[in-house]
């Protein structure tokens, strides 16, 4: 039977020829054609006597052994005697000997070697992954100045009057900020787009140490008629081609004319626990908007920076004294306490809010 008429032979011979390239050059030049002849004879006989499946097994077995043969041909037949070597080079000899033993084991049982290497690889990969997550979530500090002083107000969202109560009537916080995330329309040049917009109260950028690469961050409260907007770094690159002329550009966002006053520093990592993963633009929260005047309309996420002298553990008492005492006399004031028995509002250290799915850093 001609080799060309044997089922699957040409493809297997081509693969086998490729594998023979792993053999040392001198050995290949001397024996490659004979090895191929033996491969062809074996395939032909298996195909003729036992059928295609047997020929295929023969080809597979032969191919698998080529690599082992290549390794053996490159190894000294017996370990070299190193007894007379100086002690200083003993470690090198040990490494060499271990390498030879490893290669020999690989040549003898390639399947086991691959499985062992795969297991070790998987183990290293798993440990690396776990460490990466633990490092990011637990070990690495949040990318904000003095993150241990930043606290986050839990219990869902809060209303603007509540925020005002806490901001104006407590002395535990150096600053308190609120943010609301909304999807606004932007009438772009080509087509309308949705912008994930963070509406922030004054001091938000300062509290989180956010800087800009162009222009200024939002520093003061919103001023009617002159609404500033700060672009995210990605938005600036995507829609303005990272042009510095963006400062002063006009944008009509949700029907309101705005002016670009800054571009966020790409190193600033948004506090995801408050605003989610990505923000396109940052705008000041219009605290005069009638939408926010109702004490029962909870739309804001709140965070604060503790005074340097106030610890997280002492803060509840501090606040109870400063707020609750007044609250008992002033109608409408929101009681602020972190007591577990009376958990009107709970807060915790910002760093402690991190989790795998709400990593702030």
């Amino acid at each position: 039977m001609s080799p060309l008429r044997m089922r699957g032979y040409e493809r297997r011979e081509a693969l086998y020829r490729l594998l023979l390239l792993t053999l040392p050059r001198a050995f290949r030049h001397e024996f490659a054609e004979e090895i191929l002849d033996a491969f062809r004879d074996g395939y032909r006989e298996h195909h003729t006597r036992f059928g295609y499946a047997a020929a295929r097994r023969f080809a597979r077995r032969s191919a698998l052994h080529v690599f082992g043969c290549a390794v053996r041909l490159r190894m000294p037949r017996r370990p070299v005697a190193f007894a007379s070597s100086p002690r200083s080079s003993q470690w090198l000899i040990n490494v060499w000997r271990d390498g030879l033993i490893g290669l020999r084991a690989f040549a003898q049982k390639p399947g086991f070697f691959v499985m062992a290497a795969g297991t070790i690889g998987l183990g290293i990969g798993a440990v690396t992954t776990v460490f990466s997550v633990v490092d990011k979530v637990l070990l690495r500090p949040l990318p904000y100045p003095e993150p241990e002083r930043i606290v986050y107000f839990e219990n869902s969202s809060h209303s603007l009057p509540e925020f005002h109560d806490w901001r104006d009537r407590t002395d535990s916080f150096e600053s308190l900020v609120a943010v609301r995330v909304v999807d606004y329309d932007w009438r772009a040049v080509d087509e309308p787009r949705r912008l994930r917009t963070a509406l922030v109260t004054s001091g938000f950028f300062t509290l989180f140490g956010a800087g800009t690469v162009l222009g200024q961050p939002l520093v003061g409260p919103a001023v009617p008629g002159a609404v500033p907007v700060v672009l995210s770094h990605a938005m600036w690159q995507l829609h303005w081609g990272a042009s510095p002329d963006v400062i002063g550009a006009q944008m009509t966002i949700n029907g309101t004319p705005t002016t670009v006053t800054g571009v966020m520093d790409p190193r600033f990592q948004v506090p995801e626990i408050m605003v989610g993963k990505s923000i396109d633009v940052w705008m000041p929260l219009d605290e005069s908007d009638v939408l926010y005047q109702d004490r029962g309309t909870h739309l804001l996420e709140v965070a604060g920076r503790l005074e340097p002298s106030v610890t997280l553990e002492a803060a509840p008492r501090h606040k109870n004294q400063s707020v609750s005492n007044r609250a008992s006399h002033e109608e409408g004031c929101t009681c602020l306490t972190s007591s577990r028995k009376n958990p009107t509002i709970r807060w915790q250290r910002f760093a402690d809010c991190r989790s795998i799915f709400k990593a702030g850093g």
């Binding site: 050995f27 024996f31 090895i35 033996a38 074996g42 006989e45 032969s62 052994h65 041909l73």
Partner: protein
């Protein structure tokens, strides 16, 4: 001629290759098939490792090339044949004696499995 005992103990596969060449010259796949038959399929050489072994045996002077010719199995295709040398024969004989002594010893220790229930 080098002392045949200096080659002992032989690698089992080298021994088998020499062993199947004792009675006749063989070409590459012929050696593989003969080893397979002699060992009832327990030892199956592959082409690459067969020629690695042949190269070593030729280097040591135990095997020599016996020229190329066509075979009944390959038709018009020519194959290079290999033959065992005088030294190779002596080495196989020494190795066989060594294995025989070992076998006798194993029998005395009742380590040999009974075959065919007899």
């Amino acid at each position: 001629m080098r002392n045949p005992k200096s080659f002992l103990p032989l690698n089992p596969r080298e021994f088998l290759v020499l062993y199947v060449l004792v009675d006749q010259e063989r070409y590459g796949y012929g050696i593989m098939r003969a080893v397979d038959e002699e060992t009832d399929g327990d030892v199956r050489l592959d082409p690459a490792n067969l020629y690695r072994i042949l190269k070593r045996l030729m280097r040591d002077g135990l095997v020599a090339s016996a020229g190329s010719r066509a075979t009944s199995q390959t038709g018009s295709e020519r194959r290079r044949f290999y033959e065992i040398t005088q030294l190779g024969r002596a080495v196989v004989a020494e190795e066989t004696s060594r294995l025989a002594r070992l076998t006798e010893s194993a029998k005395a220790k009742r380590l040999m499995a009974r075959r065919g229930g007899s």
